[in-house]
Amino acid sequence: MDLYLPVANMSVNVFMMLALGGMVGVLSGMFGVGGGFLTTPLLIFFGIPPTVAVASAASQVTGASVSGMFAHWQRGGVDTRMGAVLIAGGVFGSLFGAVLFEWLQSLGQIDTVIALLYLILLGSIGAMMLRESLRTVLAVKRGTPLQARKRRHHPLVSMLPMRWRFYQSGLYMSPIAPFALGFLTGIMTMLLGVGGGFIMVPAMLYILGMGAQVVVGTSLFQILFTTITATMVHSLTTKAVDIVLALLLLIGGVIGAQVGARLAMRANPAKLRLGLAIVVLLVALRMAIGLAWRPDEIYTIQWL
């Protein structure tokens, strides 16, 4: 069954899009990430114009993170103060990202920048996760669990002025660091259609030194608001949000996310991280091939 997308100006197979949303949803529920980093490249792969793909994928991430966020909220796993600082950074980041998006579009380099950013981000984070999770899995196998890493923020962060107390995270630190982190994620949400959880979570743990019990909840809280901002900014600037496409992705995505969350409860966390690392590296590899191989389409059209 085909359905016409009014903003993308093309028709897509309904079941294909539902399946895509569902598959990404399962992964996102399982690994606690939004899944935008999978949706956007897959949509582009199915022939959706890149701008529409980026703009519409953000709403799927909103939908996937909302119920997860409420679950963490109820058990006190959201540091709202830290979240607010991250969101403030995220809002400015998305506005800056919008300017950047338009500038890159006028240069004709938006596609290349999207692909390169994906490659760099996913490649490095995937490699880091792979290393860390393999070590844990192997250590458990050998029966010598690794020493828990001492929780503290990065030395550079403690040099920043103006310290605030973040009670729920158990931190006394400058808000400039989370603001900058939020700003960077905001730019990425705008350019790549990702929530940024796969960057936010490791950054919160290893750079900000937040307690593990509030990391996922606060990251979801921040993702929720940043993707909402990105959807609004896209609706007002690029006008590329296809609400029909978003609806299809959301239906698959929100159901998949719940299924994934149930699956995750029965799985070993280190193995889950290993699985996510492999998925992330595969997407990065696909991007690398796309950049290095001769593309199918040498020519692209930009409307003036």
Partner: protein, 263 residues
């Protein structure tokens, strides 16, 4: 759909022919006259739209009522609204394929389809084809900001090739059927990804390398219903459209969470 089209085709032809053959004014000049029609003059794009097949048909009326002895050919051209575009070309720079070169085309048709009874190069010389914009090699694209003719030709071919693979440009020689030198018909596909706007369907009658009759019809392609509403909302009411998208994602996310807690 096909059956209805054909019935309509027959009916229109019968009416058209009776009118023309019985009116004495039709043969005032010595030139033949084309009476064209299309199976639908408006194409509505709605949620279930996956493209449509257009039937273009009509009659060739000769002043003396008899087809001449020399071979005559029919060319049918459907052209969509033109828009200025910039065509970018990827090149390999430092091992990575990036957009490097570009040319601006002032008037690239969003859709262009041509059907003819014989290959175009067999019936028209290049000059005539260019004047009437007949054939994919004869599009007037109003290029600007290009370096030389070789580059321009490369880009024009690139554009045609890209659009052909998207089914937005097509050329098919030999696909117009002419019956007894008087009736013609051709089928052309309009794919789902066509741009909306006013299209023209032109019919050319060709004999001895000359165009001896031209007739044209307009076709409106437009979004209707919910799709028209959504496209307009996205374009003109970005704020409300964005809020609706956000509400939709929050609502569905919350709903799924609530449902799964219940079961």
């Amino acid at each position: 759909m096909g059956g209805a089209n054909i019935r309509r085709f027959g009916l229109c032809l019968a009416v058209g022919l009776t009118l023309l053959l019985t009116s004495p004014g039709a043969g005032a000049t010595n030139d033949p006259v084309l009476v064209p029609d299309v199976s639908s003059r408006t194409i509505d794009i709605k949620y279930s739209f996956t493209g449509v097949e257009l039937l273009l048909f009509g009659a060739i009326i000769y002043p003396d009522g008899r087809a001449p002895n020399e071979q005559t050919d029919i060319v049918v051209v459907i052209k969509g609204p033109t828009r200025p575009i910039r065509l970018r070309e990827k090149q390999r720079v430092a091992g990575v394929w990036v957009n490097a070169d570009s040319v601006r085309f002032g008037s690239a048709p969003g859709y262009y389809a041509v059907a003819s009874s014989r290959p175009i190069s067999d019936m028209l010389d290049e000059r005539t084809a260019a004047i009437y914009e007949i054939g994919l090699n004869s599009l007037s694209l109003s290029p600007a900001e290009f370096e030389d003719n070789a580059q321009l030709r490369r880009f024009a071919n690139g554009l045609v090739d890209l659009k052909q693979r998207q089914s937005l440009y097509l050329e098919s020689g030999g696909s117009v059927e002419i019956t007894r030198g008087a009736l013609y018909r051709a089928r052309l596909m309009i794919p789902a990804q066509v741009p909306v706007g006013r299209y023209t369907a032109e019919t050319f009658l060709i004999s001895n390398g000359n165009i001896i009759a031209v007739a044209s019809r307009d076709i409106d392609i437009r979004k209707t219903g919910i799709d028209r509403f959504l496209a307009l909302a996205a374009e003109n009411y970005g704020l409300f459209y964005g809020l609706a998208a956000v509400a939709l994602s929050l609502g569905l996310g919350w709903l799924a969470g609530w449902m799964f807690r219940k079961f």
